[in-house]
């Protein structure tokens, strides 16, 4: 095998190993621990008109120590019930989580009236961090 050919073969492999090492060993940092969701203006009116469009995802995933605060903003003209509370128009609700679990909440912004929040432990092992980063990247890509 010629030297240039060996290098051409080796470089992508080294790059992949480096990327995996970075993704596995570098602690995850995000700009804010809050994951923001907004209930847009006109949600109630749309629902009353028979529009079953989902404003918020049916399942929201949070990760302890990284993104473990749910921030909901009610931009609608009417109060919205989210799980433990009622949010007046213009109000925000900031809900921190400290325990990994699956939480079921009543949510009037959902056509189903239900919302699930999955709170998972902070990824500390290299393969957990890699999996977390890949999943975040895929979710961002999917929009």
């Amino acid at each position: 095998m010629s030297r240039p050919f060996r290098i051409t073969l080796l470089l992508p492999l080294v790059a992949l190993l480096c990327a995996l090492a970075w993704a596995g060993f570098t602690p995850i940092h995000v700009a804010s621990r809050e994951k923001l969701f907004e209930i847009p203006r006109g949600t109630y009116a749309r629902r009353m008109a028979g529009d079953k469009v989902e404003i918020l995802p049916a399942k929201i995933r949070l990760t302890l120590g990284i993104e473990d605060i749910l921030l909901l903003r009610n931009l609608d003209e009417v109060p919205q019930v989210f799980g433990p509370t009622i949010m007046m128009p213009g109000q925000s609700f900031r809900l921190p989580f400290e325990r990994a679990a699956s939480y079921q909440f009543v949510c009037s912004a959902h056509a189903s009236g239900q919302m699930t929040i999955e709170v998972e432990d902070e990824p500390v092992m290299p393969w957990e961090r890699i999996r977390w980063r890949v999943r975040e990247w895929r979710e961002k890509k999917a929009g």
Partner: protein
């Protein structure tokens, strides 16, 4: 091994090491609530009921104290006893400061919960707890103000229980709805948040 390749590999590993040596994550500041917080903070919706202490039950009546408000019923087998035991535990842990904390519990079962029944039920956890009772329309109105849902579950033997929202509302001394604690938080979380409200 090719010395150039070795140097390249060592440099890369050092780079990864530097990137991985990020500063440790800081714990959240102690003045942040464990409960969910609303912003902007608004006055707690008013409730007009009868109190189990024989006086009218209204939120205005409790101004000057930090109020823990929850909804439930005396025949509740699980959620309400746990909630009330937790709130009683928090008051106990606060010591003398508990005098400035009022727990109020509104029934979602006005057909069975009269003042005497609720007084007996609440008194078994803490004699200072005050219950709110009233007619079905009055209770419905109170539930609607706080976004409380409840539904009757009829059993095969004809008896029934009630599924209901189980959050605890934390109201500051000026009557503003400051925070909402979802069901299931331990005593220490309440003590933590009550200390913040008592300071404020």
């Amino acid at each position: 091994m090719n010395p150039k390749l070795a140097r390249f590999g060592i440099s890369l590993l050092l780079g990864i090491g530097v990137a991985a040596a990020a500063p440790p994550r800081l714990s959240p500041p102690d003045d942040l609530f464990k409960a969910g917080t609303l912003s902007p903070v608004m006055p707690a919706p008013e409730i007009a009921l009868s109190g189990t202490d024989g006086k009218p039950f209204s939120m205005a009546r409790f101004r000057g104290k930090v109020v823990l408000l929850a909804f439930g019923f005396s025949n509740c087998g699980e959620v309400c006893p746990i909630t009330l035991a937790t709130l009683a535990g928090a008051r106990k842990k606060l010591g003398a400061a508990a005098g400035d904390v009022q727990v109020v519990y509104v029934t979602v079962d006005p057909e069975r919960d009269d003042a005497a029944q609720m007084r007996k039920f609440l008194g078994s956890f803490d004699p200072t707890f005050i219950g709110g009772v009233g007619t079905r329309p009055q209770i419905d109105s109170a539930q609607k103000s706080y976004g409380i849902s409840s539904s009757k579950i009829v059993h095969a033997d004809g008896s029934y229980s009630i599924g209901h929202s189980s959050s605890i509302y934390l109201i500051d001394r000026t009557g503003r709805l400051a925070a909402v604690m979802p069901y299931g938080h331990p005593v220490d979380d309440f003590v933590h948040d009550l200390k913040i409200l008592l300071r404020g």
